[in-house]
Amino acid sequence: MLEIKEKSITISIDTNKCDTCETKACAAACKKYARGLLQIVDGKPSVEHLSAEEVLRLGTECLACEIACKFEGNKALTINIPIAGLDVYLTKRGLQ
């Protein structure tokens, strides 16, 4: 599992699923919609060519990689976007 932390989100990639992915749509989307942080190394997405600081600085949190992976790739990538207070809001209303 690859975890990439941007300023306010965490990208999790189950890289085991990436071996059989033919499109590598996440990296293409990252290049098209953002700054190309994700690169394909040995068939898997990677940000190893960047330092953690560079990932933070360059990451645009565009969410395109998740959408691309979901609809064109192997559904290996999820992005967690915390929203302060929303869980409490929903719990109070019995919606959680």
Partner: protein, 424 residues
């Protein structure tokens, strides 16, 4: 602007050495009685709301005894003024008033000014709008050096203050101008400030509004949200503020519009930009739908910020629909909206199957954005899918508020009927 209630403003004035009447706030008749006993003389009981015309609304009363203060507070604390419930009263000593004056410090935005401005009138104690223009004296204040005492004296001469009072008035106005600067005010209005029978100048009222951008410099104010809100801070307002507070990457504004979370006819409202927001409200108003909230994701915000706003909008209970109102052509890259909306709807529609979602997106990168929406939502938008009431529109309806409103209404009626049939 962050606005203070009268009693809060007066507390800050007092801390800065400006004379205010002896008094304190109370939230119950009992507290009001105790405050009146502490003052030990005739008092004024003044309802505290962010609204003008409090006297006309009957929430300012003069009483002689502490028990009368308690009764007056009980009467005022159940009232609502301009939709705002009165939660507190200010109990303060009744002043022996000789004359009332008006002064305010505001920002003069005129191109040749761009500085604070002092306005003064000897016709205080009434609506300043009703005072003849020739009786209101104005002076721009140097933003660097502030109001100097000699300028204040000149000003007071011009305003007709008698010679023997010049020093007193000039000193009073100069001190107020220092407070205005110290607290980073946008508005500081004292109407009236009064001369008492013994010749003292005292602030009998106080309207203090702080520049939102300066709130970070003033932790002492304890301001939770540096925003103009129509009423008290709600949980949704707090969520909205948390989205904005530490993330300056475009706008992600979200606030409650006072819906009751039970009644039908409210729409989760997500416009993109100010002009678009007004057109979206037109769309809703024309067909009798109401916005549960106000939002705005503009200025090219990042996808995560748009996601947070959209998710919060859609999380509101009992809404009859969701409107992404991208009226007008946006310069920002709309594909960030498209990606965020696809993610949110995949997460939220399972909780609200069949919720009407009218998505209007136009502007820069529109074709790519439409492709993301259509491709990303296709699986949900089947005739029996949880997204069966999603409708996607682009530039062909960019200013068509009537059409968008009518589509949303038709879908909302269908949705409500379906829920009613299911007993939900």
């Amino acid at each position: 602007m962050a606005k203070f209630l009268e009693y809060q403003g007066k507390e800050w004035l007092a801390k800065a050495g400006i004379p205010v009447p002896k008094g304190r706030s109370a939230s119950s008749p009992e507290e009001a009685q105790q405050a009146a006993e502490w003052i030990g003389k005739s008092v004024a009981v003044k309802g505290q709301v962010q609204a003008g015309g409090r006297g006309k609304a009957g929430i300012v009363k003069l009483v002689e005894t502490s028990s009368e203060a308690s009764a007056a507070a009980a009467e005022i604390l159940v009232k609502t003024v301009k939709g705002l419930p009165v939660r507190q009263v200010l109990i303060e000593e009744k002043l022996a008033i000789k004359k009332e004056y008006y002064c305010s410090f505001v920002i003069n935005n005129a191109r040749d000014a761009r500085c604070p401005m002092l306005m003064f009138s000897s016709e205080g104690g009434m609506d300043i709008e009703s005072v003849p223009e020739e009786l209101i004296f104005k002076m721009n204040i140097d933003p660097i050096f502030g109001l100097q005492i000699y300028d204040a004296i000149d000003f007071c001469v011009r305003a007709g203050i008698p010679n023997k009072e010049l020093s007193k008035f000039a000193s009073f106005l100069t001190k107020l101008s220092q407070v205005y600067k110290k607290y980073d005010c946008q508005t500081l209005e004292i109407n009236p400030f009064v001369m008492t029978e013994d010749g003292s100048l005292i602030c009998a009222d106080c309207k203090m509004e702080i520049d939102n951008s300066s709130v970070g410099r003033h932790p002492e104010f304890g301001i939770k949200i540096a925003r103009d809100l129509p009423g008290e801070v709600t949980e949704l307002d707090m969520i909205g503020w948390s989205i904005e507070e530490t993330d300056a990457r475009g706008t992600g504004f979200l606030m409650n519009m006072g819906y009751d979370e039970v009644s039908p006819g409210y729409i989760g409202y997500h416009p993109i930009g100010g002009g678009s927001a007004m057109m979206g409200l037109d769309a809703l108003n024309q067909v009798g739908l109401k916005p549960a909230n106000y939002a705005d994701t503009s200025g090219n915000p990042v996808g995560s910020k748009i996601y947070r706003v959209a998710k919060s909008v859609l999380s509101q209970p009992n809404i009859d629909g969701y409107l992404l109102g991208g009226f007008m052509m946006a310069n920002q890259e709309q594909w960030h909206h498209a990606n965020a909306i696809v993610k949110v709807l995949w997460e939220e529609l399972p909780k609200k199957p069949g919720l009407p979602c009218v998505l209007l997106l136009c502007g820069n990168r529109e074709d790519e954005s439409m492709e993301i929406l259509r491709k990303g939502l296709a699986e949900l938008m089947t005739s029996d899918g949880i997204g069966k009431r999603i409708e996607i529109y682009g530039k062909e309806h960019v200013t068509d508020t009537k059409f968008i409103g009518q589509r949303l209404l038709a879908l909302a009626k269908e949705y409500r009927a379906e829920k009613d049939a299911q007993g939900k």
